[in-house]
Amino acid sequence: MSLNAIKRALWIYHINTGSCNGCDIEILAALTPRYDLERFGMMLVGSPRHADVLLVTGPVARQMAPRLKRVYEQTPDPKVVLQVGSCGMEGGVFYESYNLVGPVDQHIPVDVYVPGCPPRPEAIIEAVAKAWVKLEKAEQVA
């Protein structure tokens, strides 16, 4: 079986590592009739075991760091990680807060970054499309 099968059936698991909920609302907006993520075969799933894409929002709060790693390990291969929102990149509005343990990519490998506070749903959809491209490249190398 090749990765070709995955490109048009990405299932997304959303994990919130201490976000202010702004990005989470934009992700829900991507599911509404206006943006309709499902027409690309993408689906929000309730368990990391079902997921192909791990969508991380928010800076990493100290309590969330081990959980984030665990959820990453629970996701079956092959997988990509999307990091949505500025605060998960360099702190954003939570910059230098006492309870943060750094950007998401210090804990798990991130494939696609989506800057913005919060980013627009179009940006999130484009990021998932970039994730397809990344999986395709991985397939060509393999």
Partner: protein, 337 residues
Amino acid sequence: MSWLGNSSLTIAAIIGGSIVLALLGAFFGLLYRGIDRKLAAHMQGRIGPPIIQPFRDVRKLLAKESIIPDGGVSWLFQACPFIGLVASILLLTYIPVFGPGALLEGYGDLILILYLLIIPSLALVVGGFASSSPFATVGAQREMVIMMSYEFPLVVAIIAIAWRISHVTDINPFIFSTVAQYPIWNQVGPVGVAGSLILLFTLLVVTPGEVAKVPFDIAEAETEIAGGLLVEYSGRNLALFYLADTIKAFAMVSLVVALFFPYNLSPVIGIGAAAPAFVVDALFFLLKVFLVMFISVTLIRTAMARFKISQASYIYIMAMTLIGLVGLILLHVDMIV
């Protein structure tokens, strides 16, 4: 009425027929799932996934890694998807699909179907418990509750029809060929038609519970218990459960069709030859399945939100059973007047 004629039903024919039925069942199960998702999306004002999306989903799941949780009972965890799939295919061999009688016609009747319908749900429950996740355990308990609840109205509806048919003929009324030979609508007067409509309504409400769809998908509720029973399943095992689910939905709707709409089109429009008659009947059957699926699955799941487990169980045990019994009484009254 059987596909092969009972006398010549050899082992090879049974195996070959089952494989063909399994492939057809998987194909149409996934196709109807795709149509269902597309229509639901349109009803919500969305474009929705392409109709072949469920095929892509299954193909993708097969390419993924299958993780077995550390704390789980490994062999049971892996066996349950197979049991669920095999039991769903078994349903198709006993229920008449595509016009002619069932493949194993005469080897099992409606009572057997009632038992077989339990097995895929039971496989889900055992698989959920075997995965040792607290979410899956909660889901498994809810699935058991809902299973026990819808059983009652389902039995009432099936028994009522068989009981009414047993008054017109001496042949075993639990066999599908008898039900097809004496369609319930032709045997009853106006009161009986009302009773039959009520029984049909009961079965249409039982169907979403049987195939775990909104508003009765409490056991798999993604938003509250993270996928419930299936929370630990991934890759190939999840794909098998996905297939079992679509095939069971197809079989359950075929059962409703076989009980209430056992009519064939070919005698009506006067096609005598075997091959074209089969094609016409098969297409007509697919149309009937589509209509029942549309009303009892797509329409209900788009129009309603999820029930709580106590509400769902109350609806089945009290409300639907009482409604079914009213239908039974109307059928009886119809015979007296």
